[in-house]
């Protein structure tokens, strides 16, 4: 029998509230018996997705929200983070060498870089109607 459980959270577009989601993600990670190191990966990826949604998606506009859903399936945990924005377009992958050579003070794009490197699957979707969603999957270990 396939087990599926879903949870949903909504946070205001205010930096700092991503930590509420991070704490929730840690609890979900423990519930599905992720190893401690994978829970840390999940916490960082979820935090970065929420920060992007707050800062770049919703542009911190009062009244906008970020919706986060956690879906536990038999072999994976899926997290979807959705904003109400118009999309941020293509982002050049960051490079520390380029930053140092170009003497850039505040290089950006590290959030997406971390999400892609820490999660097992990542998918970005932008809707012309005005919302973006990032779907992240972390595979559950076999018992």
């Amino acid at each position: 029998m396939e087990l599926e459980k879903s949870f949903e959270l909504h946070i205001p577009s205010v930096l700092g509230f991503e930590k509420v989601v991070v704490d929730f993600a840690a609890s979900v990670g423990k519930t599905v018996h992720l190893p401690a190191e994978r829970i840390e990966d999940l916490k960082t990826a979820v935090a970065e997705a929420c920060i992007n949604a707050i800062e770049h998606g919703n542009k911190m506009k009062p009244g906008t929200k970020v919706s986060i859903s956690f879906t536990i399936e038999e072999s994976k945990l899926q997290v979807a983070v959705q904003d109400e924005g118009m999309g941020i377009g293509q982002i050049t992958p960051p490079s520390i060498e380029h930053t140092i050579a170009a003497r850039k003070e505040r290089p950006r794009g590290w959030g997406i870089f971390l999400i892609k490197n820490l999660m097992d699957e990542v998918e970005f979707e932008t809707h012309p109607g005005g919302w973006n969603v990032v779907r992240m999957v972390i595979r559950l270990q076999e018992e």
């Binding site: 930096l15 930590k19 840390e40 520390i96 140092i100 959030g111």
Partner: protein
Amino acid sequence: MSNDIEATIRNIDNVAIIDIKGDVTAVTGEAIEEAYQEVSLAGSTKILLVFDQACYINSGGIAILIGIVSESQENKQIIRITGLSEHFHKIFDMVGLTRYTDIFPSEAAALQGF
């Protein structure tokens, strides 16, 4: 939401040590940047960043740290790091910070031969 961070400076021999307590984000990271500027102005060429094992570091904080490392390369300073959890050690590796700084398991180890 709390934006508390403390970045305090102390010196041991010729090493400037910046103790960082609290979350490292784009907002709070400015305190680290200010501490770095202060030790740079004082002429320090050896700088040790001491993080709190329990701290939360996000991409905004990482961007600030990369900026500091970038400036240190220009100023011919050496930066060492200690106090990171295993997870953030991995993150620093991932973003390439460990190509420009060395991470040590303890303050004593970081000061050894600095």
